[in-house]
């Protein structure tokens, strides 16, 4: 991994979001929906609590649809247009390309997340929230977004068709969100207890909700980071395998 190559690719990728309407549509919809969820579904005002827990609670569901829309083009588009051939014959490795694309998408999500700062200002204006808990919430949200993005990146590498990439990513992400819930666990009712417990420990929600409560447990952070590494590794392998077709 050479930093110089990653930084050049990263800049190109990130600016490509803003060269098309993707960035603006994504950011507007993200801000709009996170507002709706917080104020209407979450009853932000009625709760009368000076924190952003209602705001963060809905992030997994928001990401479930928005992040696959962001990642579906990541590799599928390169494969469809043939530019992957250009990219991978430049002096860059597959690993560098995978990491740069992921980091650009992650940075873009971070920008969208950062633009929710009026929410944070509002809650500080209205009351006296624990700002450390809110910071933890942002950290947790960003880590979870990273995991969603890495899954999406892998699935985008599997196909040339962006719609297929979108749908499959949504399903896989849903499985990860719900893996602590009966609808997933019931599939494994035949399995020994230890396996069921392992699967339920894979739930995004369990790890995410413990972070947004302000409990920054190293294990939760490692959980998300290792998921990212694992799925990016899969992406690189899939690209190597599938670039011929």
């Amino acid at each position: 991994m050479r930093f110089s190559q990653i930084s050049v690719l990263f800049k190109r990728e990130l600016s490509s979001y803003f060269a098309t309407p993707i960035a603006y549509v994504f950011i507007v919809i993200f801000l709009f929906l996170s507002g709706i969820f917080t104020f209407y579904l979450g009853n932000f005002f009625a709760l009368g609590q000076a924190d952003l827990s209602t705001f963060f609670t809905f992030h997994p569901w928001l990401y479930l649809f928005l992040i696959p829309a962001l990642t579906m083009r990541l590799w599928a588009e390169e494969r469809k247009s043939g530019s992957i051939e250009l990219l991978l014959t430049l002096p860059v490795t597959i690993g560098e390309a995978v990491v740069s694309k992921f980091l650009a998408a992650w940075a873009f999500t971070a920008i969208a997340l950062f633009l929710t700062f009026p929410m944070w200002i509002t809650v500080n204006y209205l009351g006296e929230p624990d700002n450390a808990v809110i910071a933890a919430g942002y950290l947790g949200s960003l880590l979870m977004a990273g995991a969603f993005l890495a899954i999406g990146s892998s699935i985008s590498a599997l196909t040339k068709n962006q719609v297929i990439a979108f749908v499959i990513t949504v399903v896989v992400c849903l499985v990860f969100i719900l893996s602590g819930f009966p609808m997933v666990l019931d599939f494994f009712s035949w399995a020994p207890q230890i396996i069921v417990e392992t699967i339920s420990s894979f739930s995004f929600l369990t790890h995410f909700y413990s972070i947004i409560k302000g409990v920054i447990d190293l294990r939760d952070i490692i959980y998300f980071l290792s998921l990212i590494v694992f799925w990016l590794f899969c992406t690189a392998i899939l690209i190597e395998m599938k670039k011929a077709d």
Binding site: S4, R12, S16, A19, S83, T89, L90, P91, K243, A244
Partner: protein, 314 residues
């Protein structure tokens, strides 16, 4: 020098490239010919390191593309089939990206970009986004990207496909101007192009090399090569006599009648025995017979014929 040794590529049960070996030296412009699906693009994709060979090796001055991909890719320029680029970037932004990823910085970078824009005549579209460009300009942007770092080895997959005759001419000139100090390998369907730019041609069919030589050498393999077309003013009933007397000329292998005699002309194509020229013998014969000749010329072999004969196995 590019050295390709026993290259194989298998896709499932299909052997797309089946034991291809050749060497290309500096100054050579190698034309890669073959029907669609013969393995041209696959071979090029392996030379540029996009695909990994099932077995065999590709090396540039001893550096292997599989073991040392970054080092080799730095010395390679590649125009993939269809000249893919990033459509939402402007020409300038795209070339700037390529220059950066190729490791150029600051003044050196802008000089390279300006230089390339001049050479390929892209000045008019510098700030236009690539998806709004015409096919010809897109192809030129692809070419610009490939030559920006002045690579030692240039691989061009159908560089003139879809260009109009003027653009083709320009691209060919460009290739010729660079030919001396580079190794250039290009694939094409257009056989006249081989004549125009290549000093060596390889024909591949079903993943194998079936011919390798200069364009002139390949043309000599054609049956038509050095055959003579002759039109003699004579009545139709003289035909068999004429035929017999021509066949008697030393070096003549066979004879084909080309037109009916209703115009009072008998036209034949006279084929020589292998590797012979019979123009002297024929003209002497005509002189002796005192024939009234309307037209006579020597045919050159055509690459088209050779291509068809070799690749269809007729």
């Amino acid at each position: 020098m590019v050295n390709i040794k026993n290259l194989y590529k298998e896709f499932g049960s299909l052997m797309a490239v089946d034991d291809i070996s050749f060497q290309v030296n500096q100054g050579e412009v190698l034309g890669f010919l073959g029907p669609n699906g013969a393995g041209k693009s696959t071979t090029m994709k392996m030379i540029t390191g996009f695909l990994t060979p099932t077995s065999g090796s590709v090396s540039i001055d001893g550096d292997d593309i599989v073991n040392d991909p970054i080092k080799v890719k730095q010395r390679l320029g590649y125009l993939p089939e269809g000249a893919p680029a990033y459509p939402d970037m402007t020409t300038m932004a795209f070339l700037d990206f390529i220059a950066q990823i190729r490791g150029f910085k600051g003044r050196d970078k802008s000089r390279r970009i300006d230089d390339t824009i001049q050479r390929i005549n892209l000045d008019k579209v510098v700030y236009q986004s690539i998806d709004t460009l015409s096919k010809g300009f897109k192809r030129r942007v692809g070419l610009a990207q490939a030559i920006l770092h002045d690579p030692d080895v240039l691989i061009l997959d159908e560089p003139t496909d879809g260009l109009d005759p003027n653009q083709k001419h320009e691209v060919r000139n460009l290739i010729q101007n660079m030919a001396k100090e580079k190794v250039i390998i290009l694939s094409t369907h257009i056989l006249e192009e081989v004549h125009a730019v290549c000093n060596r041609a390889i024909i591949i069919a079903n993943g194998k090399i079936v011919a390798d030589g200069t364009p002139t050498e390949l043309e000599a393999k054609s049956d038509n090569h050095n055959s003579i077309t002759i039109s003699v003013r004579a009545a139709a009933d003289q035909a068999s006599e004429l035929r017999k007397s021509l066949l008697a000329v030393s070096g003549v292998y066979k004879l084909e009648a080309l037109s009916a005699a209703d115009s009072g002309l008998l036209t034949y194509q006279v084929f020589p025995e292998a590797n012979r020229s019979i123009i002297a013998e024929i003209s002497q014969h005509i002189h002796q017979q005192n024939w009234e000749v309307e037209e006579m010329f020597v045919n050159k072999g055509r690459l088209d014929d050779v291509f068809r004969t070799i690749t269809t196995g007729v």
